[in-house]
Symmetry: C2
DNA sequence: CACAACAGTTGCATTGATGCAATCATTGCG
DNA sequence: CGCAATGATTGCATCAATGCAACTGTTGTG
C-alpha cells in the first residue's frame, strides 16, 4: 500500500495494457489535481462551502435562500449566517423577491461571478495545456473517449458535485 | 452563464464534434462526481482535512508529525491538535521515533487504513460500473485514451491533491 | 559543556460551519 | 377574518481548523 503518489510502474503498465479501471483511476487523479490547482488560489478568498454557493448561483441564477440551503445540504439557520458573511464580503447580495415579501433571493455580485469565471478559465487553460502536449491524433482519440465516458457516467447529481464544489 | 449543471446541449455537442477541452471538462465533472460520491459517507466520519492525512499516511507509511503538517500546509500548532482529535478517535496513533526522542511518528491504525481502502474500493467499483455500460470496444478506446491523457497530464504534485483529499 | 537549532506541545484568540429551538413577518387557506 | 404553514432570522451552543507566541525537551555543534 506504499507509494500511492508518484508514478507507479505497475499502475501505468496495467493502464497501457488496457485495464480500464486503473486507467480511469489514474486519469481521475490527474484531473483532480487539475481541478484542485484551478481552485487553490480561490480558496484563499472563500471557503469551499462558500465557493459551492457561488457555483450554484452562477449555474442557476438568483435563488431563494432556503432553496440554496437545501442544495448545499445545510439548514436555514446555518445558511443565513453564511450569507451574512458572503454578503459582507461582497460575493452575493440579498434582494427582496418580486413575488413574495417573505422570500429573499440571493444574487451573485459581479465580483462573485468573476470568481467563478476565473476558476473555470483556469481549469480550461490547464486542460488545454495538457492536450497541447498530445499529437493531434491523440487529442482526437482523447476527446472521443472522454465524450464516450462522460455520456456513460451521466451527469453527476448536483448534490454530489456540491460536496467538492463543482 | 446559466446552466452550469445539467446536460448542456451545447457542451455535449461540442464534445461529440471533438472539442477536446470541452470533452475533458465534462469528463472531469463526471469523475469529480464519482470521487465525491466515493467520499460522501466517509465525510460523516472524518473531516476532509483529516481524510487527507489518512491518505498521505496510507501512501507513504508512518511519518513525522512536522513533515505531515508541512504536507497538508498546516502549522505545527494546528496540526498537533488535529492529531489529538484523530488519535482520540482511533484513526492514527503517535509513536516515539526510533531514531530521535524528540520526533514523533504518526502511524495509521487498522481502522484508519480501512477507511482509506473503503473509499478507494468504492471509487473503483463506481468506475467499473460506468465502464460496464460501454461496449468492450469503447472500453478499450477509453482505457487507451485515459492512459495517454494521464501520461500527458503527469502525476499531480501531492500538494495539489492534498487540497481535495486524494 | 554551553548554546543554538529543532520537534513538538500548549496558551490564547479567531473564524467558519453546524444545528436545535424560539421568534418574527408573510402568505395562503378554510 | 383567523389561524396554520412557510421563509427567514436570531439566540444559543458546539466543534474543527487556523496561526501567533511562548515554552519544554532533545539534538547537535562549536
Amino acid at each position: 500500500m506504499q507509494h500511492e503518489s508518484g508514478h507507479d510502474p505497475v499502475r501505468i503498465e496495467r493502464a497501457l495494457q488496457g485495464d480500464p479501471v486503473e486507467a480511469t483511476l489514474t486519469t481521475s487523479r490527474a484531473l483532480l489535481g487539475l481541478v484542485a490547482r484551478s481552485l487553490s488560489e480561490t480558496l484563499d478568498l472563500v471557503t469551499l462551502p462558500q465557493f459551492r454557493v457561488l457555483v450554484i448561483l452562477a449555474g442557476n441564477g438568483p435563488m431563494r435562500i432556503g432553496e440554496l440551503a437545501k442544495r448545499v445540504r445545510s439548514v436555514p439557520s446555518t445558511f443565513t449566517r453564511s450569507m451574512d458573511r458572503m454578503e459582507q464580503q461582497g460575493w452575493v447580495v440579498r434582494e427582496a423577491s418580486p413575488t413574495s415579501r417573505r422570500e429573499v433571493l440571493v444574487h451573485l455580485t459581479p465580483k462573485g461571478a468573476q470568481l467563478v469565471v476565473e476558476v473555470t478559465d483556469r481549469r480550461r487553460s490547464e486542460i488545454s495545456e495538457v492536450l497541447r502536449r498530445l499529437t493531434p491524433e491523440d487529442a482526437e482519440i482523447v476527446a472521443r473517449a472522454f465524450a464516450v465516458f462522460a455520456a456513460a457516467a451521466a451527469e453527476p447529481p448536483p448534490e454530489d458535485l456540491v460536496l467538492l464544489g463543482l
